[in-house]
Every structure is written in C-alpha cells, then in structure tokens.
C-alpha cells in the first residue's frame, strides 16, 4: 500500500500570456497521506479553485509534478491522455451542493461511476449499496435526490465520490450550506471514510465551524501554500 495519497511539488499555473499573464499558482507543494483529511484554506482569489481544478485534472498546470499514490500523473505535462478516465477512476469529487443527478435514484447516482468505468450494473449497484449503508443512507437507496434532506444528499455525494475507490477525494466547500451540527457530521463521515477506504481527502473551505477539526491545514495565499498544524479537534 502506498504511503502517499496525493503529492504535489512546485505546481504552477499561469493564465494568459505576456504582460497580461497572471500567475494563479506560483509554487504549490502538498502531500496528503492515505486516510488523512487536510484543509485547504485561503481568501477569495488566492488560487483555491485553480488548485482544485489542477488537482481534479480539469485544467492543466503550467509546470510542476503530481503523484496519485505511487503514480506520477503530471510532470510538466499530463502523463496520460485520458484525463476523463483519470478523473473517473482516481479522483473523487464532493461539491458545495451535492449536485446529484435528479433523474437517477440514490443507488444509481452512486453506481453511475462504477458503471461508467465498465463494471456490470449489478456489481456497481452492490458497491453502491455497501457505501450507502456505510454512510447510513442505505434506507433511502430507492429514493430520488429531491426526496432527501440536505445532509442525506451530501452523504450520497460522498458515497458517489468513493464509488470507484479513488486514492484522493477533493471536497469543495462540502459543509458551506449546513448548520454546525450537520457540518461536523459531514466532517466525521469524511474522516471515517478516509480511514476506512485509505483515501486522501482535501477539503477546500473557509467554514470556521470545521477548521478546528483538521490536523493539518494548507493555507494558500497569492498562489503559494503554507502548511500549519491544525487543532485536530475530536469529532
């Protein structure tokens, strides 16, 4: 088992050319171990979203290196041409809003990813059922997303992110719309799942309610990251 969930060295991202160029990421370095949940905090315009998009393989960094597990996926250029498959199989996403597919039931929302990866429907649905049970929403498996509460929807979104057992989950403000109790509940789930499935979790947030729960925090400012120890408050 790899001891690295995700590792980034000297990641840079420049938008535009010449005098109009903007360096959104200047020198980002980050390591998250499997089973670890770290916070990524920074003010608006600091480069959080750009970093998340680079980590999520939806935009191409200008330079640097990235590993997922032991695999070097970026070295001044993507090492694979199929970024869609990379996102599908190796990266899980949790958004501020759950963004579940409204016309699929809860099970198929989770099973969709394994199905897209080519798994038989029955196998994918079995995997979805396991995850939903682990996240305590197994009883809503046949429901439509619109019939779920906000907390339940977010748990289904986490189950979807875990569906293909990715080495890393990128969570973009996952607790923003939730009250303290539910926000801490989501963080508890993310920590539990990270440990259970040996997944590295990066939580982008400026939610004061959950910042004390991180053991490690990366601050991002002017395109550069600074690591600091968090409180690691028990959940």
């Amino acid at each position: 088992m790899s001891e690295t969930g995700i590792r980034i060295e000297g990641l840079k991202k420049r938008y535009g050319h010449g005098e109009a160029a903007v360096d959104a990421l200047k020198d980002v370095n980050m390591t998250v171990a499997p089973g670890e949940v770290v916070g990524l905090i920074g003010p608006s315009g600091s480069g959080k979203s750009t970093l998340l998009k680079c980590l999520g393989a939806v935009i191409e960094p200008t330079a640097g290196r990235m590993w997922l597990g032991d695999e070097l996926i970026f070295d001044d250029g993507w090492k694979t041409s199929d970024l869609r498959a990379l996102r599908r199989d190796r990266i899980g996403f949790v958004f501020q809003a759950p963004y579940l597919i409204p016309f699929l039931d809860v099970t198929d929302n989770v099973a969709l990813l394994p199905m897209l990866a080519g798994q038989p429907n029955a196998v994918a649905r079995r995997r979805a059922a396991e995850l939903l049970a682990a996240l305590d929403v197994g009883h809503r498996a046949a429901a439509r997303p619109s019939a779920l509460s906000g907390g339940e929807q977010q748990r289904v979104a986490i189950a979807r992110a875990l569906a293909n057992q990715p080495p890393v989950i990128l969570a973009d403000e996952p607790t923003a719309p939730l009250d303290s109790e539910r926000a801490l509940g989501v963080m508890r789930i993310l920590n539990d799942m990270a440990r259970q499935y040996r997944t590295a979790v990066i939580v982008v947030t400026h939610d004061e309610k959950i910042i004390p729960t991180f053991r490690r925090i990366y601050h991002i400012r002017d395109g550069q990251t600074f690591e600091e120890a968090g409180e690691g408050r028990a959940l």
């Binding site: 959080k48 979203s49 998009k53 869609r84 996102r87 699929l104 969709l112 897209l116």
Partner: protein
C-alpha cells in the same frame, strides 16, 4: 450502463409527453397534407380507372375533357368505331356544377353517359343502374343523396336510382351520372327566357330571316334549341391493340386529339394538380422546418436545464458520446412520440376532411424516417451546447 436518456424522460415524463403530443399534432397536420396530395392523385387515378376508357378523344389542340373545355359533335363516335383497333366508343359530357340538397349546396361533377358504354359508373353500392333515357341519376355516396331522393338539376327533377362510390372528379367533387341527352341539355341548352330572346334576335336579323327563303329561320331556331355536342368520346381498343397506335390514327385522320391513359394521367397529375402539389410541398417544407425548430428549442431548453448535471457528469468522467447519446435519444424519443401521435390523429381525422385523404403506409414510413432525421438534426444544437460545457464549471462555482 444505465440509459440516462430514458431515466431523464421518465423523471419529467409529463412535460416530455405533452411536448410530444404538441409535436405529434404538427406531424399529424404534415401527414394529412401528404395524404391530401395522395388523395388528389388517387382521385385522378380513380377518375381514369372508373371511366373504363383506353383513349379520350377530344377537341383538337385541347387538354380536355378534364383539364380544358372540349366540344365535339356527338356523331363523331360513329366514325371512330370504324377506325382500326377501336372496339367501343361512347359519348360523354362533363359539367361541374352545384346542386342543392336540403337547402345546402353540393358541388358535383355531372356526367352524361350512355348506359352500357364506357363512361358509366363502374359499380353500384345500392339501387340499380339508369334504365330510362331521362330524369334518372346515379349518385356518388359522397354527395349525400339517398335512393329515391329527388335532385333538382337546372330545370328538371331527377330521381336517385343508384348509389356508387369513389366516383369523383380530378378536383375531388363527387359525380352525378345522368343520361347523355339530359347532360347535353343541362350543359348546352339555354333556359326558356333565353331561348325566346334568342329567337327574337334571330327573327330580327335580316341575314337569318331572309324574305324568299322559307324555312331558314325555323331551321336556325331549331338548331339553337338543341345540342349535338359532347365533351369527349371514350374509346376502348380491341384486345392486343396498342392504344397509342389507335390514338395516332385518330389524330392523323380525324383531326381530333386522342389521349391514352398514360397521357391523360400525366395531364391530370402533372398539370391539373401540379400547382396544388407544389402548394402542399411548400406547406410540407414549412411544417418540417417548424417541427425541427420546435424539437430543437425543446431539446435545447431541456439541455440548458441540465447544464450543471452535465458539468458534473463530465467532471466525474462521463464520455462526451454518452452525453451526446443521451440528448440524441431524447430527441429521437420526442420524435417517436410525436410520430405515433401524429399518425394516430391523422388517421382519426382523415375521414372528416371534405376531400379524400389517402394515408399510404409508404408515406408514413418515409415520414417516420424524416421525423427521426429532423429530430437528430435538431438535437445537434443542444449536443453542441452540452459538449461545450466545461467540467471545471462544476468546481468552485
């Protein structure tokens, strides 16, 4: 893999089905328009088929008797019977007119025919054939007349003795079959007042009322009060004789125009209903464009309503072709519902059209293919919009 299109349709089936029904009504109108054209062609074919003629002999340099007026003497058929290859020849007179029934006007084509000769109604669905020389009529059921009913035609009342079906003019007007003499009278004879007036005019004309030429005025007045003209002579050729060959002889020696069945079909279909056909074709093109615009608009707005989901689908690794396939399938589904509804309503409302509407299976099949192609084409706008969605837009919004 889950059928995303099917799930999406089931999720919002009410809106989808209602849209399909709306589209279906439009497709129904389109199919009916095609059916009206087919009906016109079929009416023309029925007119030719029911006449039982191989040749139509008409006035020289005319396209008569259906497309242009034609007037020839009613004794010409005798000389035609002497032509090589001619088996039977019979006079016919055609006149489009309005008769009244129960206070309402009924537009009909009056056909004067000789019983037992080409031009008589091919079959009856009720009653008996015309057996008297005057004042009996066989009517197409579409006229609405019933057996025994009295029909007023110009100055005389006729009794409906028989009913026939699918005997219509090229314009779709149902036919009334009357004895030839009656039809000639209706067509060429004037009313009493006009006759008296015409006699007075002739008597006052020194050219026609010459002193010292006894009987001249009476002869002229008698000719004015009777008609010996018909519109055409229908000819049947002998077995094994090429109608074109017989027609060539008639044209050459009788100084008349003779049309074969193929030529007459060409006159009716390619010339007489050509303008209507172009009109209908224009409608079909417009309706197709409107259908395409509706499908494109609906699918496009449905897609725009799912932009966030599409961004998420793309972010989590859904292939572009899966997303394009979902939109295409929805467009085709809309087309399928629309076609089924359209075909159903076109079939249901076809009998209520005043003119014959012929819905041919081949047209329905072609219509189905065209609807599907239009829907596929219309979905390209939405597919383009979906494929341009940046998966990054799902992050950091």
């Amino acid at each position: 893999m889950i059928n995303l299109a099917g799930r999406d349709i089931l999720h919002a089936w009410g809106r989808f089905v209602l849209t399909g029904i709306g589209l279906g009504l439009l497709i129904g109108v389109t199919l009916s328009m095609a059916g009206i054209y087919r009906g016109m062609v079929d009416d023309a074919q029925a007119l030719l088929g029911n006449s039982g003629a191989d040749l139509w002999v008409v006035q020289k340099d005319t396209l008569g008797p259906y497309a242009e007026s034609s007037s020839i003497r009613d004794d010409l058929y005798r000389s035609l019977l002497g032509m090589p290859g001619v088996a039977r020849a019979a006079n016919v007179a055609y006149l489009t007119m309005q008769v009244t029934r129960g206070g309402a006007d009924v537009r009909v084509m009056l056909v004067g025919f000789e019983p037992g000769q080409p031009g008589e109604p091919g079959y009856l669905v009720a009653g008996r054939p015309v057996t008297r020389n005057h004042y009996e009529v066989v009517a197409d059921v579409k006229t609405g007349f019933r057996l025994g009913e009295r029909v007023r035609v110009r100055r005389h009342d006729y009794t409906v003795v028989g009913l026939t079906r699918r005997m219509v003019s090229a314009g779709g007007d149902p036919m009334l079959f009357v004895p030839l003499k009656d039809a000639q009278e209706v067509q060429f004879l004037k009313d009493n007042d006009a006759l008296i007036n015409e006699r007075a005019r002739s008597a006052a004309n020194p050219q026609l009322n010459r002193p010292g030429v006894p009987g001249l005025l009476e002869a002229i007045q008698a000719s004015q009060a009777s008609s010996h003209n018909v519109n055409a002579v229908l000819v049947q050729v002998k077995a094994g004789v090429d109608p074109e060959q017989a027609a060539a002889g008639i044209r050459r020696w009788k100084h008349l125009e003779a049309y074969t069945r193929v030529q007459m079909a060409d006159i009716l279909v390619a010339r007489l209903i050509a303008t209507s056909a172009r009109q209908i074709a224009m409608f079909l093109v417009i309706l197709s464009v409107v259908s395409a615009a509706i499908v494109a608009f609906i699918i496009y707005t449905m897609t725009l309503g799912k932009i966030r989901e599409i961004a998420v689908l793309k972010l989590i690794g859904t292939r572009n072709r899966t997303i394009a396939g979902m939109i295409l399938q929805q467009a085709l589904g809309l087309g399928l519902i629309g076609f089924v509804v359209g075909k159903t309503v076109a079939t249901l409302w076809a009998p209520f059209f005043p003119k014959y509407v012929l819905l041919e299976p081949g047209d329905a099949l072609r219509g189905f293919v065209i609807v599907m192609l239009i829907c596929a084409l219309a979905s390209t706008l939405a597919i383009r919009a979906a494929l341009r969605v940046d998966p990054a837009s799902a992050i950091g919004a």
